[in-house]
Amino acid sequence: MSRRGDWVYENNGGTCVAIAGADYCVVAADTRLSVGYSILTRDHSKICDLADKCVLASSGFQGDIKALHKNLAARELLYQHQHNKRMSCPAMAQLLSNTLYYKRFFPYYAFNVLGGLDSEGKGCVFTYDAVGSYERTGYSAQGTGSTLIMPVLDNQLKSPSPLLLPARDAVTPLSESEAVDLVKDVFASATERDIYTGDKLEIVVINKAGTTREYIELRKD
């Protein structure tokens, strides 16, 4: 496929997943950076800790992702100075949406998943498109492997139908370790079929005690 001469984006691949639980949130992303059919590096993090209870994972064009993460981190620092506290996850969610829409006519090529704990300590996941449309959900996958992962999460995470009224919370009743195991399984499967996903999996778990990180090896082919 020939690209236009003025095409300024490139897709560096990768997949991001987040799952919200009753009092925890799991955010995971693979660490492979690719372009075309080549791998640029096997060890690049797509996850950014924005606030102590708020973590952003983005896949897409690496240049835009870096700029977006830096922008948000600087805004969060300003918020800290002005309000004497760190930004909450829902506040960051709105800020991210506004930041993305600000560039509606020259978008950040970034597919984002924001995860963390809300002000009540419950897990929350926000999923975005490239121009800032967002929604709070119980789980989400974005990136090149998302089409492989999302149906599995839908099947496993027992989300009540969105057609039910009154609207019910989509957070999963699974325990933290069960959710982490699910994430590992789901990435292992996506790695099998998606060429852009693999190498290593970075899993960040946010709960009341803080944030922990874990790295799992994935297939390298």
Partner: protein, 291 residues
């Protein structure tokens, strides 16, 4: 200082070569409540005396965090100080956005000094003042525009960078100097006298000793009033022994009260040689300093 015909605006020189408005701005600093700063080679401490405007009101904040590695304490027109703190915070954020590194303290002090001297005027003002394009020109406030006044606040800028801990004093004139220890505000002379006697050893002081000296210096400015954690604020920033950074933060009131109590207990003990008294203070404290 007398009123005279050369002090009406900031753009008028006196025949003796003085800008009175700038000097009056420095007077405003002397009227504010006291602030003290001191540093060792690895840590810098800022302390401020909390003086409420009246019995019914609370005191104004005088110590501000500017970045993880730096903070300021101010004396004078605290409203001007808030504006400057916001400016400094933006400068630090912009610098670390562009260079992925913390702004060195000397540069921070320089930016502040430049702001006291120079300010970009908004575009519409430039257009209506002169015919030629002034858009890119930074115009010195003090000498060319008579409707802007100097900032009426003196700032003690303390922070940590690659070259160690630093303390700068920025005054409304735009001058700034680096100090080992300094005090500004009302009755700061008493604190300065105290610091002059002891500053030579500060480079090797532990953070705890620095805090104690900062509190003692503030006590000198209170002149008889009892020092408690309610009437002072102390903040510290530095590099710990293991190389990690101790970010700029206020020390909480209970910890300050503990330190004040231990200082008073040490004073009541029979007078001993200074070096052994310091050792006693260190071992008698509850736990190693972990702020």
């Amino acid at each position: 200082m007398f009123r005279n015909q050369y002090d009406t605006d900031v753009t008028t020189w006196s025949p003796q070569g003085r800008l009175f408005q700038v000097e009056y701005a420095m007077e405003a600093v002397k009227q504010g409540s006291a602030c003290v700063g001191l540093r060792s080679s690895t840590h810098a401490v800022l302390a401020a005396a909390n003086k409420p405007a009246s019995e019914l009101s609370s005191y104004q904040r005088k110590v501000f965090r500017v970045a993880e590695h730096a903070g300021v304490a101010l004396a004078g027109l605290t409203a001007d100080g808030r504006v400057l703190s916001r400016f400094l915070r933006n400068e630090c954020i912009n610098h670390s956005f562009v260079y992925e590194a913390p702004l060195p303290i000397s540069r921070l002090a320089l930016r502040l000094a430049d702001k006291a001297q120079l300010r970009t005027l908004p575009k519409y003002a430039l257009v209506c003042v002169k015919n030629f394009r002034l858009r890119e020109l930074l115009i010195p406030v003090c000498t060319q525009r008579s409707w802007k006044r100097p900032y009426g606040v003196g700032l003690l800028v303390a922070g940590l960078d690659e070259t160690g801990a630093h303390l700068y004093y920025n005054c409304p004139s735009g001058n700034y100097f680096e100090y080992q220890a300094f005090a500004i505000g009302s009755r700061s002379q008493a604190a300065k006298t105290f610091l002059e006697r002891r500053f030579e050893g500060y480079n090797d002081y532990t953070p705890e000793q620095l805090i104690k000296d900062a509190l003692s210096a503030i006590k000198e400015t209170l002149q008889g009033e009892k020092l408690t954690s309610a009437n002072c604020t102390v903040a510290i920033v530095g590099r710990k022994d293991d190389g990690t950074i101790e970010p700029f933060q206020m020390i909480d009131a209970t910890r300050i009260q503990e330190i004040i109590d231990s200082m008073e207990a040490a004073e009541e003990a029979p007078p001993v040689e200074p070096s052994s008294m310091q050792e006693e203070e260190r071992t008698s404290d509850a736990a190693p300093m972990d702020i």
